[in-house]
């Protein structure tokens, strides 16, 4: 019983790390820039399928494929934000049409993936994915440990970028005060383009982690929308550290429910988590 409990916690922490990788891009775009990119999980799934293709046809390691895809996704992000800015943000029309825009993108991505790959599950296999290490009674499978470590490295990198570089600080500033940012000599639109691009870049890496963790089919992204938005909110809307803590909390809760009540209830956990976050603590754990 204790073994089961400890293993559930360990698996939950690893799962939470992976959730952090999925969420960190949204922490930037939704938490800091106030862009409700509900297509983020769809881009993650796109990243998974691109990883699948690169792995299958070019023999690339999935994680390496994800890192190589990130710049391409960065460019897509700049393009998407430019359209979003020109069509909605500049007109002050984000709420209704901006949401519909991202919903449309999400739907188009899903349909395109179904048209290209069908509705079958795809997976990648590498030498290390099946392995696991044992610490005492706790087993840590590599297919969860690698995404966990990659997620922490990515979140750490983004944290350093945001706090140490000029552009990074400009990103943190743009959400708070556009005008002051302009006076400091940074272009707010350009800054937001870069920030949104980084957000989508993380989706490519998260996609490679997603397909490493388990098989992926085109509409799987929907299962994660409630989860990752709940994490952003609980993490305090825009804090990278808060995102990691919130993601690990959700991961542990979900893993406990899956172990003791059955895995088919985990989407319900995420939704309950989201509702409770919104109802009880909408300002997040470390609310400003």
């Amino acid at each position: 019983m204790l073994d089961l409990f400890l293993n559930a916690i360990a698996a939950g922490i690893l799962l939470g790390g992976f959730y952090a990788a999925m969420t960190v891009g949204l922490t930037i775009s939704f938490g800091q820039l106030d862009i409700v990119n509900i297509a983020h999980p769809a881009f993650i799934v796109l990243g998974s399928f691109c990883t699948f293709v690169l792995h299958e046809h070019a023999g690339l390691d999935p994680l390496l494929a994800g890192v190589l895809l990130a710049p391409a996704f960065f460019c897509i992000g700049i393009g998407v934000y430019s359209v979003y800015y020109g069509s909605f943000e500049r007109r002050g029309d984000e709420s209704l049409r901006g949401l519909a825009f991202f919903f449309g993108i999400m739907f188009i991505l899903e349909v395109l993936l179904i048209m290209t790959f069908g509705v079958d599950y795809r997976l990648v296999e590498t030498s290390y994915i099946g392995e696991s290490i044992k610490i005492g009674v706790i087993g840590l499978p590599f297919r969860m440990l690698v995404p966990f470590l990659a997620a922490l490295a990515m979140a750490g990198g983004i944290y350093l970028y945001l706090s140490k570089t000029f552009t990074g600080r400009a990103i943190l500033a743009v959400a708070q005060d556009r005008l002051a940012l302009q006076l400091m000599g940074a272009d707010p639109v350009r800054t937001k383009q870069i920030a949104f691009g980084i957000g989508l870049g993380t989706a490519a890496v998260a996609g490679s982690l997603l397909i490493m963790l388990g098989p992926v089919e085109p509409s799987v992204g929907r299962l994660y929308i409630g989860r990752i938005f709940a994490i952003v909110v609980l993490g305090g809307m825009g804090s990278i550290g808060g995102t990691i803590v919130a993601a690990i909390i959700l991961g542990v809760v979900e893993s406990m429910v899956a172990t003791f009540y059955g895995p088919s209830w985990s989407p319900a956990v995420a939704f309950g988590f989201l509702l409770m976050t919104l109802a009880i603590r909408p300002s997040g754990l470390f609310g400003r």
């Binding site: 069509s87 709420s95 209704l96 449309g104 929907r222 409630g226 209830w265 989407p267 939704f271």
Partner: protein
């Protein structure tokens, strides 16, 4: 308030539809017409909340499926006829809309949208785990062999949906022209200012979510009889959400007739495309049309027409 011409035309439409069932032999017309009418109800219901107050509901499929599964459960448990189930389906879906609104509408509007999106996923999980209504593998519904007044049950369903569409559009029109509608528009344009002027914003928003959810649930109730076999993936299909958003945005969200125009155009196009082209491509068309319209024609066809004919076109 002008009410003169609407109700006679509405009555004529319903009578005309019922008349058509006696004189048109091709059942395809009624099968296809049912879907278009169903989308008129869904698009109108979505627009009561989304277009009038500006709060985006991504969970049309959830409310629709609640209606459909109410029918399956009550038909199986008590053997109730469809006409008795429809009001119950409306009440259940309305209460879900009220709860979703109550939990999230006091916060920023996007949280309501995200919650509705997550709601669809959770309800689908719950239904897939609920063995009584067929679980993930779905269940069959046997339509009644005889329907009073009509030759077969599809003509009856068609007439029922026609009546429902007319009622839904009538409700939307009534709201748009009434004091409630002005309250909704005030919320859409500037919620803080509306609150300051004494508009009871939370109450109005809850009225909108409840009414909108209830209409979607009622629209879903006849669905099991229409398809005769229901499983969670098709009942919770994202196509309901995307269509019910795309149709009002294509037609024009600020009027009661915009969603009708969008639903008739996009609904008929899809009925035609499903027959002639593949169904995936047909979904792609809907998605691309939605994105193209929100980017290029933000006021929809109604806005374009107003711009062309210069009748009080809104300047962005």
């Amino acid at each position: 308030m002008r009410i003169g011409w609407f109700y006679p035309i509405a009555l004529l439409l319903v009578l005309g539809g019922a008349f058509a069932t006696k004189h048109v032999d091709s059942n395809f017309v009624f099968y296809a017409g049912y879907v278009v009418l169903q989308f008129i109800v869904l698009a109108t219901a979505w627009n009561i909340l989304g277009g009038f107050t500006g709060y985006v509901n991504f969970g049309t499929a959830a409310f629709f499926a609640v209606g459909a599964y109410t029918t399956i459960a009550l038909n199986k448990a008590l053997g109730l006829p469809l006409l008795a189930i429809m009001p119950i389906a409306g009440i259940i879906a309305g209460l879900i809309g009220l709860a979703a609104g109550y939990f999230t509408l006091r916060l920023k509007g996007v949280f309501f949208s995200i919650a509705t999106l997550a709601l669809a996923v959770v309800l689908e999980t719950a239904v897939a785990n609920w063995g009584y209504v067929g679980g993930a593998s779905g269940s069959y519904v046997i339509p009644p062999a005889e329907v009073p007044f009509f030759d077969n049950y599809i003509e009856g369903l068609f007439s029922l949906m026609l009546l429902l569409a007319v009622v839904a559009v009538g409700i939307a029109r009534y709201i748009a022209l009434s004091k409630i509608g002005r309250g909704f528009a005030a919320i859409r344009d500037d919620e803080v200012a509306a609150e300051c002027m004494g508009v009871p914003t939370l109450r109005l928003k809850l009225i909108a979510t409840t009414l909108s959810g209830a209409l979607m649930g009622i629209a879903g109730a006849p669905y099991p009889f229409y398809v005769t076999y229901v499983e969670p993936t098709s009942a919770f299909s994202l196509t309901y959400a995307v269509n019910s958003i795309a149709m009002p945005l294509i037609g024009g969200t600020t009027t009661w007739f915009g969603p009708v125009i969008g639903a008739v155009l996009l609904g008929s196009l899809q009925q035609w495309a499903t027959v002639t082209i593949s169904s995936e491509l047909n979904l792609l068309i809907v998605g691309v049309t939605l994105v193209a319209f929100v980017v290029l024609a933000p006021q929809g066809l109604v806005g374009l027409a107003r711009k062309l004919f210069g009748r009080g076109g809104r300047t962005p």
